[in-house]
């Protein structure tokens, strides 16, 4: 067997495509969106590499669209997700590396349908150490502090700019190895210097 084929087979048989795994993962992602600043650690011994593919497998299917801006997905995984690909400007989900500044303008939705604003999934180094951020807004009891490593500061500026006219905006999900944390459009982020 070629190594490519072996890798493809392994990923096809992986637990991340199972409904019960995705149900548990969704509850963790939902809790992350409901409580910005809370770090959820995705579970499962089947997780090789990182939780990114599990996150995508949980959220995506043929009824939605994805832009893989930095080519983080293999052709095989992209096919397995069954998702249609679109440009980052139109896609409902945008997958990108957090270490580089954004070079696109995502959909912010419309006044009538702000839910069409994009969900941006950012791959970063680590959540829990690094640059400290202070978060306030819905889902946060007063204020909370969280640290992120490997997120280009331009993303924080973009979060503020794109979400400056509520209800329009984008919602971000940070993924670092097995950890996820959400920054929905209502979260106000302050850098702690």
């Amino acid at each position: 067997m070629s190594n490519n084929f072996k890798a493809a087979l392994q990923s096809t048989l992986s637990g991340i495509w199972q409904a019960d795994t995705q149900q548990r993962t969704f509850r963790q992602i939902m809790n992350a969106f409901a409580r910005p600043g809370v770090i959820e650690t995705l579970e499962g011994e089947f997780l090789e590499g990182d939780g990114m593919l599990l996150t995508l497998a949980t959220l995506l299917d043929g009824a939605t669209t994805l832009a893989d801006v930095d080519g983080l997905l293999s052709e095989h995984d992209l096919a397995r997700l069954e998702v249609s690909t679109l440009a980052a400007e139109q896609a409902r989900f945008v997958l990108t590396h957090g270490k580089v500044a954004p070079a696109f303008m995502p959909s912010l939705g419309t006044l009538e349908s702000p839910d069409t604003g994009a969900t941006i999934i950012l791959k970063i180094q680590e959540i829990g150490s690094g640059n400290r951020l202070k978060l306030t807004g819905p889902g946060v009891d007063g204020a909370c502090e969280v640290a992120v490593n490997g997120l280009h500061p331009a993303w924080l500026a973009a979060h503020q700019e794109w979400n400056s006219a509520f209800p329009l905006g984008v919602d971000m999900l940070l993924v670092a190895e097995h950890q996820v944390m959400a920054l929905p459009r209502t979260t106000r982020i302050e850098e702690i210097k």
């Binding site: 995705q22 939902m30 969106f33 209800p167 929905p184």
Partner: protein
């Protein structure tokens, strides 16, 4: 018996669509996210919206409580619970709020404060509070986007002019996070303050109207009112000004249902049956210890 059904009855694509709608509902507190509500094996209006949310969330580790008008034993709660037990093998059900991880409810929010790890799903018949003042959904969507609720406030003002108070008894329009006004489902006014700074996530599902919306935890929820006519909850004082107590458990801090005795006199009892049972049990425990 579950032969032939997917876990949770819905197919996985339907669940994923509901789940994506839930994430947007949480991210835009109070905004009604449209979704393609599926046909369920029960009539629309019987809680199919709440049911689709519950079925999209539930897993084998969950303990579910289903409430109808405060009670676990009324017909809507029993039917929904049995259906979920049948299509979700492995889950646990309970009537005890403290044991539940997932609570689906119709017309009430439990008396005991929810815990952060619990999720409350409310069944919604009419999701849009603006429908009384604007028949066009396109126009309502723009009004919601602009947070333009002037006409709704005029409607409340007309109530004050006619009756000296706002006469809405349930489905009281509530502003979430200083923007969207929601119909909080037919909960009594008594339950409306529980939407403000809630410890738990609250999800709303309207199956017939195909909408999902949310009040995230620790989010501002403010009933619409005027400075000189503040919002107030139901008054359970009798003619002498004494707070009525539950005839069963004696509680004087709960929402009471009114019953008619055979002789025509009135009797009041807790609407939240689990709370009433737990108060009774606690009383019996205290009594037992005192007598021992």
């Amino acid at each position: 018996m579950s032969a032939g059904y997917n876990f949770g009855f819905l197919d996985e694509h339907a669940k994923k669509e509901v789940r994506r709608a839930i994430l947007k509902a949480i991210s835009i507190p109070g905004y009604q996210v449209p979704y393609s509500s599926r046909e369920m094996p029960m009539g629309r209006g019987f809680g199919t919206g709440g049911l689709q949310i519950t079925l999209s969330l539930i897993g084998a580790n969950d303990t579910l409580k289903v409430i109808d008008q405060g009670s676990d034993d009324s017909v809507n709660a029993v039917n929904l619970r049995q259906f979920i037990e049948m299509t979700c093998p492995g889950i646990d059900t309970t009537t005890r709020l403290s044991e539940a991880t997932l609570i689906q409810s119709r017309h009430r929010i439990p008396e005991t404060p929810l815990k952060p790890e619990q999720v409350l799903v409310l069944q919604v018949p009419y999701p849009d509070p603006l429908v009384v003042v604007e028949p066009s959904e396109d126009k309502r969507k723009i009004m919601h986007g602009e947070a333009d609720y002037a006409r709704l406030l005029v409607k409340l003002y007309e109530d004050i002019v006619k009756f000296d108070e706002i006469t809405i008894s349930h489905r009281y329009p509530t502003r979430i996070n200083d923007h969207y006004v929601i119909d909080p489902s037919p909960i009594p006014r008594w339950d409306v303050p529980k939407l403000d700074n809630s410890p738990a996530l609250i999800l709303f599902g309207a199956g017939r109207e195909k909408k999902i919306y949310a009040v995230p935890p620790h989010t501002k929820g403010e009933p619409l009112a005027f400075e000189d006519v503040p919002f107030r909850v139901e008054d359970f004082r009798d003619a002498q000004g004494k707070r009525r107590a539950c005839a069963r458990c004696g509680a004087t801090d709960t929402f009471l249902d009114e019953f008619m005795n055979e002789d025509g006199s009135k009797r009041y009892q807790c609407s939240d049956s689990d709370y009433c049972d737990e108060t009774l049990e606690a009383d019996m425990m205290t009594e037992a210890t005192t007598h021992a």
